[in-house]
């Protein structure tokens, strides 16, 4: 897969590469919004602190509204989970299921990357797509979100009555975890686990965006990453780039190099 070459104002050559389709970017932000809504409304449902119904009981629906928005957002999250899981097997997303799964190879690379990120020593690998550490983080998030969906169905089923579809789906979870209190505890606790991973995920993206030129943040908005050629020449394998075989790109790169030499 080739990329589009360009030149920074400083004269350095850069390469613009597609990292994910726009639909994946869209799903990411739907997920982001749903998690924000789920966290705020979920925290309220667990511990109603900051918003109270005013007037008589029939005039206010504070908790009912929070629960409704929580339900809407959970549908959005479930939709993203399913559709992104499907996309992870497609060519457009570079079959990135391989990067999400904690395979031994991914774990080894993730540990190397984690050591580099923490110590800032050695050489950090640049990845065109999702790096192994990020992949494992996303895998954890997916597991946590799946747990929230399953426990959420169980909590929702409790009020639907025996025999309903939700009951059929949720009741076995209730039995497995020995009661609704345990389901509720896990649902509440996993929210913190999710916040833990999301906090690190957001920080790492901002950090990489600040330190490197890869522009991770714009890659999740428009689906492109920008790499200076000087950085990625010896990492081409990681990007799946065929720089030497890509005639137009090579030609453009040579032109830029020649132009720079002339300038100098």
């Amino acid at each position: 897969m080739s990329g589009r070459l360009g030149v920074f104002e400083s004269g350095e050559t850069y390469l613009v590469v597609r990292t994910r389709p726009l639909v994946a970017c869209f799903l990411h932000w739907v997920l982001f919004l749903s998690i924000v809504v789920l966290t705020i409304t979920g925290y309220y449902i667990g511990d109603p602190e900051f918003y109270y119904g005013q007037g008589e009981a029939y005039q206010a629906f504070a908790m009912a509204e929070m629960r409704l928005y929580h339900l809407y957002a959970s549908w959005a999250m479930a939709f993203v989970l399913v559709s992104r899981f499907y996309l992870a097997f497609t060519e457009s997303c570079n079959h990135d299921i391989k990067q999400f799964l904690p395979t031994p190879k991914n774990i080894v690379n993730a540990v190397k990357l984690a050591i580099y990120f923490v110590t800032l020593r050695g050489e950090g690998a640049h990845y065109r797509f999702i790096n192994p550490l990020g992949g494992i983080g996303i895998f954890m998030m997916a597991v946590f979100m799946l747990t929230q969906t399953i426990t959420g169905i169980s909590l929702y089923s409790a009020g639907t009555g025996a025999g309903s579809l939700w009951w059929v789906l949720g009741s076995p979870i209730d039995s497995l975890l020995e009661g609704q209190q345990n389901v509720r505890l896990i649902h509440h606790l996993v929210m913190y686990f999710l916040m833990f991973v999301i906090l690190i995920h957001v920080y790492m993206q901002v950090w990489k965006n600040s330190v490197f030129t890869e522009s991770d943040i714009s890659s999740i908005i428009a689906g492109y990453k920008i790499f200076p050629l000087s950085q990625i020449g010896h990492f081409a394998d990681y990007y799946g780039l065929r720089l030497t075989e890509d005639a137009p790109a090579k030609k453009r790169m040579d032109e830029v190099s020649t132009a720079r030499e002339k300038d100098e």
């Binding site: 008589e56 629906f61 009912a64 923490v118 409790a158 209190q181 509720r184 505890l185 600040s210």
Partner: protein, 375 residues
């Protein structure tokens, strides 16, 4: 307001058994309508319910066993007003053995048990109250289940002996249903519910104590149809345990409105608002308390201003504690804390780590010469 019955002025069982006056027609039909509604049947069933109760010929023999418990379920049972205790014990049922209520003691009592079992083999109803300890006490005399002995037999021996020939086994109260307080961690006596101890299927009417209207309705169901009512996955009758307390609660409107009692005795408590924030377990508990209430429809905990403790759920002493908090604590090796404490520590730790890493990166910014965007 609570309807105060004249029978409540009679304090003792003897007093109550001493009345032996039959119900008038209006009271009897009132009772039949109530039982029919509790069973979830249409009003057309009221005459059938009345007939089933009147049927003297099918008066089933009942053997009531006590295991590890506090006798609260017997106390609850004799709080029945319609039918009155004496009607229930003597006319509707033939309670042939009940350690607390029977007049006989010693060998005479044991004889009553043996004869009731022999005469009604395969036909009697066994009602169990209390959990069965299964652990072996320390010491040379210790035998399995030895923490409970009755007439020289362990509780588990007695249960197996009596329950094997019963037409049906009904567990009243949470202890006999699921183990109750005896089975709470660390459960030194190894107490378990009757079904788990004996392997014999039981119908469970949990509650601490159970509500007599549910046990009477179950018996009426048995008299009416010759079988026990349909049950949920825990073996509890669906007519009483098919819906959550939360969904039937008188304070539910305040939950949906977001109006909560913050602490006992505050203005919200005086207004009768929702007890969710002071630990109400109604959203996790299946019981018909809000509909039938206790003491002949007088009241129930939430109506009286106390949160539901979830007493009809399995392992409620472990799962529903702390009783005045929404969520249970986390009990893991080395961790005994609330979910929020664990969560705040985790996320707070991550935030501190992130801040430290940002500072470290800034201190080492020269390493990124040529790659830092602003350089």
């Amino acid at each position: 307001m609570c309807r105060v019955k004249k029978e409540y002025s009679l304090k003792t069982v003897e007093d109550r058994l001493g009345i032996l006056e039959s119900l008038d027609r209006r009271e009897f039909l009132n009772f039949c309508a109530k039982i029919t509604a509790t069973l979830g049947l249409a009003s057309a069933f009221i005459p059938k319910v009345a007939k089933a109760i009147e049927q003297g010929a099918r008066k089933p023999s009942v053997i009531w066993l006590h295991f590890a418990e506090c006798t609260a379920d017997s106390e609850a049972f004799i709080r029945s007003t319609y039918p009155s205790t004496e009607e229930l014990l003597l006319n509707i049922l033939s309670v042939d053995y009940h350690e607390t209520l029977m007049a006989a003691s010693g060998e005479a009592a044991e004889g009553a048990l043996k004869s009731a079992m022999a005469e009604n083999k395969g036909k009697y109803l066994a009602v169990c109250e209390g959990a069965i300890p299964m652990a072996t006490p320390p010491g040379p005399a210790g035998v399995p289940g030895g923490y409970l002995t009755l007439a020289g037999k362990t509780g588990i021996e007695l249960a197996r002996e009596v329950l094997k020939d019963a037409a049906a086994v009904i567990c009243v109260g949470t202890c006999s249903s699921f183990g109750g307080v005896q089975a709470q961690r660390p459960n030194p006596t190894g107490a378990v519910g009757v079904e788990e101890a004996t392997g014999i299927a039981t119908l469970k009417i949990p509650g601490c104590p159970h509500n007599v209207i549910n046990s009477v309705a179950t018996i009426v169901n048995y008299l009416l149809l010759g079988s026990l009512p349909a049950t949920d996955k825990h073996g509890r009758p669906l007519f009483a345990f098919g819906k959550r307390v939360h969904d039937q609660c008188q304070r539910r409107a305040h939950f949906d409105a977001g109006q909560f009692v913050e602490k006992f005795g505050d203005e919200a408590a005086k207004q009768g608002w929702c007890l969710y924030k002071v630990g109400c377990k109604g959203p996790q508990t299946y019981h018909n308390c809000p509909l039938v209430e206790y003491n002949d429809g007088c009241s129930w905990p939430v109506k009286g201003g106390h949160p539901c403790a979830g007493c009809s759920e399995p392992q409620f002493w472990d799962n529903m504690q702390p009783f005045y908090e929404r969520l249970p604590d986390i009990h893991l090796p080395g961790v005994e804390a609330s979910a929020d404490k664990v969560g705040f520590t985790l996320v707070g730790g991550a935030a501190v780590g992130v801040a430290a890493h940002a500072a470290y990166t800034f201190a080492n910014r020269k390493k990124f010469d040529g790659t830092l965007k602003d350089e």
